[in-house]
């Protein structure tokens, strides 16, 4: 609500955002998949490659008034379901769908 406008006259303008979420194991936890891929890359000759981390990529759309609101919905989704904060970190990118 802006400039004292009356709430019943306030029609929110909803926009569509895309949330792009990356979930990875927390740094203290051995990432066995990442290690396996790293070993394979080294065997292939890519010896300069290091610190391979495997994770999950989750995307969804959100209808929200603001980017901040879309982000908070994505944040809650991650904390409650998409990631397990005990062993995983997550990163959220929000982009408005043109």
């Amino acid at each position: 609500m802006v400039d004292g406008s009356v709430s019943r006259l306030h029609v929110p303008i909803m926009k569509t955002f895309t949330a792009m979420i990356t979930v990875t194991l927390r740094s203290g936890i051995l990432d066995v998949q990442g290690k396996t891929v790293e070993h394979a890359l080294h065997t292939m000759g890519y010896t300069s490659v290091g610190h391979v981390r495997m994770g999950k990529h989750v995307t969804f759309t959100v209808e929200a008034e603001t980017e901040g609101h879309a982000r908070s919905i994505a944040q809650e989704s991650c904390e409650k379901l998409i990631a397990n904060p005990i062993m995983e970190d997550f990163d959220i990118r929000i982009q408005e769908v043109a």
Binding site: L25, Q33, T36, N84, I86
Partner: protein
């Protein structure tokens, strides 16, 4: 006493748990469908069985934790009801916050399917009185994500309050690195809630309750519970 064995889509040890409790432990036992929204009032202990609930999608136990019956299981546990989580059931209990920590992918990168030795580290719980303190027991494991993980504070809290109930060890009862099948911190195989009514473990006691299946080391859990409810 009466057991209720929860059946999630993808549970595959539900029949084993029903058989072990009913046929081997001679208790009354029945299935509880995941869409149920309450735990029947005559149920003394809910079992969350092993398997791959909801295909293990996202993370083991992550989706099951939001199934309709889990809200009832959480209420049941918070009101003092007994809950036993085996393998996937243990994963569901940690996801639901009924037990601390999480089960991460096995550090050996393999799905581990083997008989393992464990020490009964606390025989004062309602789940373990039929065992001797530090008794060596053998049970099968079958999991890809059983590496118990929690922050150091949680581990210290579990250890100092005897909440580590089962610990992986070798055939001589020594909990060393070689006898740890999945990389669990402190060789932890099973833990119990602070008030002693919720226990989770990765090995499968229900698979060693019948001499025909090569062992009866799992029966102690169901005998302990029977004794608890007989004297309660």
């Amino acid at each position: 006493m009466n057991y209720g064995v929860v059946v999630f889509p993808g549970s595959n040890c539900d029949n084993d748990a029903l058989y072990a409790t009913a046929m081997n432990a001679h208790a009354s036992s029945r299935f509880l469908w995941h869409k149920e929204t309450s735990i029947p009032s005559d149920i003394d202990c809910v079992i969350l069985p092993g398997g791959f609930s909801y295909g293990d999608y996202l993370r083991s136990g992550a989706i099951a934790r939001f199934s309709p019956i889990m809200r009832a299981v959480v209420d049941f546990a918070n009101n003092g009801g007994f809950v036993l989580g085996i393998c996937n059931g243990f994963q569901v209990l940690t996801e639901a916050g009924l037990l601390p920590g999480a089960l991460a992918r096995n550090t050996r990168q393999l799905f581990s399917c083997a008989s393992v030795h464990m020490l009964v580290e606390n025989n004062k719980t309602a789940f373990t009185t039929a065992y001797a303190q530090h008794e060596l027991v053998t049970m099968p494991i079958a999991h890809g994500e059983g590496s118990y993980f929690a922050d150091q504070r949680t581990i210290d809290e579990l250890e100092s309050n005897q909440r580590v109930v089962f610990r992986y060890c070798n055939s001589s009862g020594v909990a060393d690195r070689q006898s740890n099948p999945n990389g669990s911190l402190n060789n932890i195989a099973g833990i119990i809630s602070a008030n002693g009514n919720v226990m989770g473990l990765m090995p499968h006691p229900e698979r060693v309750c019948d001499t025909l299946l090569g062992g009866t080391d799992g029966l102690g859990i169901f005998h302990s519970l029977a004794q608890h409810f007989q004297t309660a």
